[in-house]
């Protein structure tokens, strides 16, 4: 790891100033569980590391009935997994947090870091000067692409690795960003970018900007949610494919639905075909299967990742039927 100067500002304003306007010089540190590995492999070689953890206002989890949930960016994954209100009301968030890494990393890793973590593409993480690192080819196209994206890709084919992002997208959360002067808020669906929008960054964040809070709307009556993550191994791992579903039913009829997928696209993927067609449906195995089978029409196989298409459809079906019953 290259050496650097280390700063621990106590205010957001100072932190933003220290981060400055050059991604390659100065970088934010929260739990460090992603950043340290990136620095070790010299994918990131900052000359200054800005520790966010001394900014006290960012570590709270607050819930107000009628208003919803306010999550500080420094809340840890373990705190989110253990929070009683989240466990009772926001199942999808609870289940996603429980699925992340190991207890050690859950105690260290933060929500903000989870949302802003960098891609796991093995070419990107190792010594390949690929497109995303400013080079001129994507090694995944003719290389090992078993875990790359099936939709939304090109010219780079990463998947976004965050479990929390997929869950928060199903809950229609908002992300608050401090730009050095003031806060602004964007829906999480607009927080992430596809490679065709920005080849080098996965989010709309600009240098010096810091994620401060995530807002999740209050849970309506008849609302249920859940997360399922398919992993290659029994223990912790990144998602091969994951699905987050929020359904609100009135009687037997679905009134509102948000179905999002992880592990298949460069950003958490809201599947509009499924979400829209579930509305006003009295769900049963046949009609839910038919809707899911018709989804992901633009998905394509890079050579080794075609299995994800069927897997994603089946996981959606399974989770929708589970919540609908």
């Amino acid at each position: 790891m290259k050496n650097f100067t280390y700063k621990s500002p106590a205010s957001l304003k100072d932190a933003s100033q220290l981060l400055g306007d050059d991604w390659s010089q100065s970088i934010a540190l929260a739990g460090g569980t992603d950043l340290l590995n990136l620095m070790k492999n010299e994918v990131e070689t900052p000359t200054r590391v800005v520790n966010l953890k001394q900014i006290k206002e960012l570590n709270k989890i607050e819930y107000n009935s009628g208003y919803g949930l306010k999550l500080g960016a420094l809340a840890t994954i373990a705190e989110i997994a253990a929070h009683p209100v989240i466990k009772a009301k926001y199942r999808v968030l609870h289940e996603a947090a429980r699925e992340i890494a190991s207890p050690q990393l859950g105690n260290m890793g933060t929500l903000g870091g989870n949302l802003c973590q960098r891609p796991r593409c093995w070419y990107y993480r190792n010594e390949f000067p690929c497109l995303r690192k400013g080079g001129d080819i994507c090694y995944a196209i003719d290389g090992k692409n078993k875990f790359h994206c099936i939709i939304g890709g090109g010219p780079c084919f990463i998947v976004h690795p965050s479990d929390m992002a997929v869950a928060l997208m199903a809950l229609d959360a908002n992300v608050t960003i401090f730009d050095g002067e003031k806060n602004h808020t964007v829906p999480i669906s607009e927080f992430y970018l596809l490679p065709e929008q920005d080849m080098y960054r996965e989010t709309v964040l600009k240098p010096g900007e810091i994620v401060t809070h995530i807002y999740v709307p209050d849970v309506g009556s008849g609302e249920k949610s859940g997360y399922f993550k398919f992993k290659e191994r029994g223990i912790w791992d990144f998602a091969v494919v994951s699905v987050a579903v929020m359904l609100r039913k009135k009687g037997k009829t679905i009134r509102e639905a948000r179905v999002t997928l992880g592990g298949i696209a460069p950003k958490p993927w809201l599947e509009p075909h499924v979400s829209e067609n579930l509305i006003n449906l009295v769900p049963d195995e046949d009609n839910v299967s038919a809707i899911c089978d018709q989804s992901l029409r633009n998905a394509f196989d890079l050579g080794q990742n075609g299995y994800k298409i069927l897997l994603a459809k089946n996981l959606m079906k399974r989770m929708i039927l589970k919540l609908a019953s």
Binding site: Y6, N51, S102, P103, Q104
Partner: protein
Amino acid sequence: MKFSTIKFELNGKPVEIEVPPAMRLLDILRETFKLTGTKEGCGIGECGACTVLLNGQAVASCLLLAGQLEGTKITTIEGLVHDERMNLLQRNFLECGAVQCGFCTPGMLLSAYALLQKDARPTTDDIKNAIAGNLCRCTGYKQIIQAIQKSTESLSDPDQ
């Protein structure tokens, strides 16, 4: 090279060190303090051999930078040699055959210890979750889970 001065509590005693900010806690423990009970397996957060307690919680010392230690309390396996609960776990690890090569053992013991500090009567699933970040290439985990279970039974009051 730039150095930072960092103050924290190590195994109950206040310490002050001057190290490069890029130094990891794992190296500070092993090199600066010669506390070699904490092991390096993978160096990337995947194996748990480097587990220590930070303010009582299990963390991976291979992913912690020197600066992140300021004001914290760090406990390594050496810090618990006279701790009753740790001694019980150690005895049960030996009795149940939960130690073979021993490389994973300090980390495993600390993960188990952190669990029992929070919850003296964990279920088998709680135990499995608590050690999910600790890789053991020798035992197959069964004996380890048994040893932790045994430590919960003997700790809890049978009349309650």
